[in-house]
């Protein structure tokens, strides 16, 4: 994978930052596109949890194929690493399971923006889990107020 990225970088003459922006933009579109597909198939016969399960199952097959070499070192995983991986997986499972279940009750144009408060949750979590890396500022607090106001606006109008 990294060889492919290096070749693409050389081919297009891109800087690391521009390549990073390109990757992040592609990731943003991918996340939104995944949610859009889910919104078209979720319903009474296809619950959000089932969609999230199969999505993760197919995702697992694909990423384990990409990282098949890393799988050899699975036995050397420390207990601490395993603990953080379990917590990450729990978060992901709640994230995908909940958002697809929400899509069974409302449109993507309503669910998407409310679920978009993720960076704010990450910011608060960083201050708790990775202490000393970020702090609370007046600007961040103002941004948080804006986010909450947006959620209230959407909730009130639906």
């Amino acid at each position: 994978m990294s060889g492919l990225i290096s070749a693409a970088r050389r081919g297009f003459g891109l800087s690391d930052t521009n390549l990073g922006i390109g990757f992040a933009s592609f990731a943003a579109f991918s996340f939104a596109f995944g949610a859009f597909i889910a919104s078209t198939i979720v319903g009474p016969d296809t619950p959000g949890l089932i969609i999230a399960f199969y999505e993760a199952l197919f995702g697992f097959v694909i990423v384990s194929t990409i990282y098949r070499r890393d799988l050899k070192s699975v036995g050397s995983l420390s207990r601490r690493a395993l603990w953080w991986i379990i917590l990450t997986a729990t978060g992901l499972a709640f994230g995908f399971g909940s958002i697809y279940s929400a899509l069974a009750h409302a449109d993507l144009s309503v669910v998407g923006p409310i679920g978009g408060v993720v960076p704010l949750v990450s910011y608060v979590t960083v201050m708790v889990v990775l202490r000393g890396t970020e702090r609370l500022t007046w600007r961040a607090a103002a941004g948080a107020v804006l986010v909450v106001s947006g959620v209230v606006l959407i909730a009130a109008s639906n």
């Binding site: 978060g91 978009g116 009130a156």
Partner: protein, 147 residues
């Protein structure tokens, strides 16, 4: 709306904390192993939850179209989304990539309106812009980063 609000906020809580936990996991294990491990365990947890709530019958009801679409979702969410976000963060840094990811709600609303035929009311559109603006204000604040 109450159920939708709770589920959407629960999703944000899951993804938001998971994002930070994965950074912590990557300190103690190779990134590839973290991605494979979290995807496998997420699938296991979701499968277990679905089994308890919906029963075994719900797993075999899908059509070929359903499996093709969830396969595409696996590609977009776990490879196009999670992996490429990781690659982006490694190259451009979290201060540049986080605001880009913050625009996901606007992209989702655009897709829903253009391709899904949804017609959100004006207040919902304004709310979406206010949320994204708030995320941009938080994410572009470099003073909050200590190290």
């Amino acid at each position: 709306m109450g159920v939708v609000l709770v589920l959407s906020l629960l999703a944000a809580l899951g993804w938001g904390t998971g994002d930070v936990f994965s950074r912590k996991a990557a300190i103690y294990a190779p990134a590839g192993l973290v991605v494979v491990g979290m995807t496998a365990l997420a699938a296991f947890g979701l499968g277990l939850g679905a089994l308890v709530i919906h029963g075994p019958g719900a797993f075999v009801d899908g059509t070929l179209r359903f499996y093709a679409l969830v396969g595409l979702m696996g590609l977009t969410s776990y490879v196009g989304g999670q992996l490429f976000y990781l690659f982006g963060m490694q190259r451009a840094g979290v201060t540049i990539t986080a605001p880009i990811i913050g625009a996901v709600p606007l992209i989702a609303v655009t897709l829903a309106v253009v391709f899904g035929g949804e017609r959100p009311n004006a207040q919902t559109i304004v709310g979406a812009f206010v949320i994204v603006a708030g995320i941009m204000v938080v994410m572009t604040d470099r003073n909050r980063v200590l190290r």
